[in-house]
Amino acid sequence: MMAGEYIPLLVAVPLAGAFFCALAARKSGAFADTLGTLTVALVLALSIYAVTSPASTHAVGGWQAPLGILLVMDGLASFMLLVVSLVAFLVMIYSLSYMNAYSGRWQFHTLFLLMLAGMNGVVITGDLFNLFVFLEVASLASYALVAFGTGKHELEAAFKYAVMGSLGSLLLLLGIAFLYGYTGTLNMAHMAEQLGVMGVAPITVTALVLLLGGFALKAAIVPFHSWLPDAHPSAPAPISAMLSGVLIKSLGVYTIARLVFNVYGASPGVLNLLMVLGAVSMGVGVILALRQWDMKRLLAYHSVSQVGYMILGFGLGSPLGILGGLFHLFNHSIFKSLLFLNSGALEQATGTRNLKEMGGLSGRMPTTSWTTLSASMSISGVPPFSGFWSKLIIVMACVEQGEWFYGAWAILVSILTLASFLKVTKFAFLGRLKKGFENVREVPWPMRFGMAVLALLCILGGLMLVPEVKEMVLAPAVRVLDHGILTLGEVVRL
């Protein structure tokens, strides 16, 4: 076991941060802020280290796999970690000023860090039950964060979210029980080996259906999406940004990819199912988004639609499709969290989320205006913004596989997305300044800083495809998924 000693820190640091926030920072909001920001900054530094250093593993407590829990830091895990901690760091800076409107600073930071620990754990673990535990840690923290405002709507949304989420978790646990009963192991790599030897049986298919159902609930893929448009808008804006930006991806999209490719070894039937689910999500999400006037609700429906793109990319199963899916995952977490932060800035400045009541704000709020514009252009796939490149890769992958229908569908959904975001820009920022908004002021600098950095990432996101950068971040992640079944011996070598 070489060089993997730092891996447990990715869970331990945010967990310790949450513990000390709850223990020592109850009196002073400023201390809670400092502790929270430093912890997230440390996690970001660790993930950058993980991306730049070679793949490694760590056996927890010295118990070797398959008996003990194995933490695996391969290309895919480090890629996901980078996405999660980058967004978490910028959102944390934004929230330093935004959360002044709420009481209970230490509760916010404790829950935020717990959620981060859970997401990191899901991403780095190589053990299926351990994954379930971390998934529950992140989910429970997110249920509580949705209810953070404790108003009528927040509580209602949190209850709905918690019930649906618990149901999803139970499906997962049942699926894990089936798989354990059949293969006699919980280590994902060992399980993949056993499944390869024992072949497909009705019980493995049942387990796959249960697991896919559970993960699809967490990822809000269309038949299971009903909780998302309530839960994500009800949370405070930084939390909406975390939920839509990274939580649904690390708990849902990442886990589906890991399960389908590395444990089950992508079979054509499952990949076709993923493509259909992805295409339906894309369509339903964008059509429901078109008729929304509440800005955050509109953004939440777009999350459903954009997750569809990622699932479609994975469903193609080719290296190019996987690259498109992962790259879109990266881009989406940047621009969707930025859009939620923008909606939070607008809400704080104007006191409303209803687009019809806004208007002409571009002069009063220049930073919010240009960052919203760049995120909107990015999500609608306008060149040269980052979203354009990832959508282009997905469409090219569709064409390469001869799936003309899916390619055309992706372009059509992209056009509808553009229409929807033109509406946002027109009603919120252009036109004449509405009465009563003459004294609206731009938000404080921590919020502006978070939004501006994310907007720069939206504009420069295409640089991820420059060969040197791609070889460091995206290509190792694609190789892990494209490899198919990963056996215990192969786990570190990619």
């Binding site: 039950f129 535990v133 009528k152 209602e156 149901l167 139970l170 029980a177």
Partner: protein
């Protein structure tokens, strides 16, 4: 033959009862009870997985004769799962109480302001 499968089938039946309560009931408390029932069904399923006829507790003592032992792993999993279940249930009950404070009812058909 049938008898060997019966516990598993009953387990899945219990799970379905829980899911039915979650999806079909209108009262917040009944929905929470549904979640609890489904959770216990899954825990029971895990415990059944490790059961062996005539199995002993898996504690190996020096000089003991080798014997049939039950699989200890699922028991550890169920312990974890019960703790997680406790947290979820406590959270759901807390939210239900706050909802009752705001709306004065546990009926979800009257707590429905979010839609679309």
């Amino acid at each position: 033959m049938m008898n060997a499968w019966l516990p598993y089938v009953l387990c899945i039946l219990l799970f379905s009862v829980g899911v039915y309560a979650v999806l079909g009931k209108k009262n917040l408390i009944r929905i929470i009870l549904g979640i609890v029932i489904a959770e216990y069904a899954v825990n029971l399923f895990l415990i059944l997985l490790c059961w062996k006829k005539g199995g002993e507790a898996p504690i190996l003592q020096p000089g003991a004769v080798e014997q049939v032992m039950v699989d200890p792993l699922p028991q550890a999993l169920v312990l974890t799962s019960i703790v997680i279940g406790l947290a979820t249930t406590a959270f759901l009950v807390a939210i239900a109480m706050r909802l009752h404070e705001r709306y004065g009812t546990y009926d979800i058909t009257r707590i429905r302001e979010l839609r679309g």
